[in-house]
Symmetry: C2
Subunit: 349 residues, 2 copies
């Protein structure tokens, strides 16, 4: 019968309902046509003028900013969701509700609708000059440069105390919401701690205060012992299908070591992370025929000391099912492929 599984960090529930399932093979995708260089792609060589000026680029000495020759290039998003440029004021009025404070008996006001400018940064990290090769197909050295760019941007943005949290994401494939085909990541620096991260951290903190243990360490120990949900393992990382996977082939990569802040990763870990990220995405690429996917990197908010109970990590969600009315209205996901079956399938590739 269907099974309700509780996600151990945040406590959210998932229904694993494999009777509704298809076989893993049925999730494979049609192959896309490869194209090498696109005349109208803002992320291809020669089109650097189509983007805002670069904020970072790894390029050979002697080449000029915003010219070709770079290996990884970081530019502000042309249509940012968060920006430091407050060129126009928000006109919506803030509307207070009056009420009598029960303790003091005084008349007070409470805003029913509140808003603030979406102050922050929104950048694009172009993975390589290649218009087609996603992270799964780049070399380990090329992936390492992307990781290096993530780190470098985080360390720089961290200096601005208005930015509370950075989220790095990848949307791969049109069905996963990407509008530009050329492989890239996006970085969002936000003036608030987003609810998904806040919940993860506060739950991990509560677990630590209750047990004196780190919930991420306990999950890793359990996964290593049971082994059935492991996809691949490296010196510093474990790649696995989480126990309460929300979607078919959901995959997490978690550092074995306590490290709350991604930007504090060591050189050796960076190399190892590039390698396991490439190989995990490679298994998804090969096993599921280059499916659309989203991934995001969760790291500790800058102004917080979470090192005892939190591990930065990435969560990869292949887009193979649709979030429909039930999932939206309940917050409970229905997953038709069990994580045990998903991991067993992906280990083959």
């Amino acid at each position: 019968m269907p099974e309700l599984r509780r996600e151990p960090i945040t406590g959210r529930w998932v229904v694993i309902a494999t009777k509704r399932a298809k076989r893993p093979e049925s999730f494979t995708q049609k192959q896309r046509k490869p194209v090498k260089l696109m005349a109208n792609c803002p992320f291809c060589y020669g089109n650097e003028g189509m983007t805002p000026s670069e904020v970072l680029a790894f390029r050979p000495k002697g080449t000029k900013p915003n010219s070709s020759g770079w290996k990884v290039r970081v530019v502000p998003n042309k249509f940012p969701a968060f920006t430091m440029k407050s060129e126009s004021e928000i006109k919506t009025p803030i509307v207070p509700t009056e009420f009598e404070d029960k303790q003091t008996g005084r008349q007070k006001e409470l805003e029913i609708y509140s808003h603030r400018p979406a102050l922050g940064v929104h950048e694009v990290i172009v993975s390589s000059p290649d218009h087609v090769k996603s992270l799964a197909l780049l070399t380990e050295q090329e992936v390492e440069l992307v990781i290096e760019a993530y780190c470098s941007r985080l360390l720089d943005i961290k200096k601005d105390s208005r930015i509370k949290q950075v989220l790095i994401i990848v949307n791969h494939g049109e069905e996963a919401g990407t509008s530009i085909e050329h492989p890239h990541s996006q970085l969002f620096g936000m003036p608030i701690i987003p609810p998904v991260v806040a919940e993860e951290i506060s739950c991990a903190d509560r677990y630590f205060r209750k047990t004196g243990q780190c919930v991420f360490c306990n999950i890793l120990a359990e996964e290593l012992k049971m082994a059935e949900r492991i996809i691949t393992e490296s010196e510093y990382f474990l790649s696995f299908s989480p126990y309460a996977s929300r979607q078919p082939f959901e995959t997490w990569i978690v550092p074995k070591k306590h490290l709350a802040n991604f930007e504090l990763i060591s050189l050796a870990e960076k190399k190892d992370f590039a390698s396991i990220l490439k190989s995990t995405l490679g298994k998804i690429y090969k096993g599921l025929d280059d499916p659309p996917y989203n991934f995001y990197l969760h790291t500790s908010p800058f102004q917080m000391d979470a090192k005892k109970f939190y591990h930065w990590h990435i969560e990869i969600l292949p887009k193979l099912s649709i979030q429909a009315g039930f999932e939206m209205g309940s917050g409970i996901m229905i997953n038709v492929v069990s994580p045990e079956e998903a991991a067993k399938f992906l280990r083959n590739f």
Copy 2:
């Protein structure tokens, strides 16, 4: 510049970023081909044997159960996400973690992974014998029968104390996750209160304890006063674009009267609700050319007294954008159409 808006009930944040926008007209859909009766559709007349036995049907006297002639038909889902039949045991072991309780100094155990059978009900409410007409196109009387079926099933399921919460949803269109084209709703009776409902209720409760006022009443008062986000209004209901709309053309229908439990709706309110539901979905149908959408009905959990601070209501979410890595990883939605613009557009139809 982009605007961060706070949803007044749960406090979740939304980015309204209209520079990323398209015009409302650009969201219109290709028209689907109409088909009247399908030989292989389990919800069409003559195919009643293709579904499990009906649990409710509005049918003329003299017609037999599971035969043609019905107006609305309710059957168990063939591949249920929740079921009372526990035909097989869950084999995944529950794994306890040992830890020392800080207060007592004693050794304790905590389950890192927990699960339970997904006990409950999962039913399908077939709107009418017509294979094509969705709620927007049925007559008011036909929609009223659907509402009547919702109510009747809720009152029946409520008798089973194992069911804590019922969620009714509609997935309209393939992109919104429906697998059977023939218009229908789904009803989920669950052994837990799903997190989205739990959060809504606990936030409304907190607002009430703080201010002595109902947050839903205050929202309605505000919307009626400002008028710019109203889509349509009836005697007992308001249909509007919520202030912190998560997606383009998100629409809520909320009763003006305090009523936490949908199943306690009066006859007059039922008629009025059928009318405003049809006309609201009709505006979405006409204005956006029959887009895919999801809607869900939120009502108070059965074993809870929320009548002072909660209003049952429905939330309609046209599927016109993709939830990508940012939304999933942060829990913050980016909406490219402001609710003021959405309501203004829909009012025309």
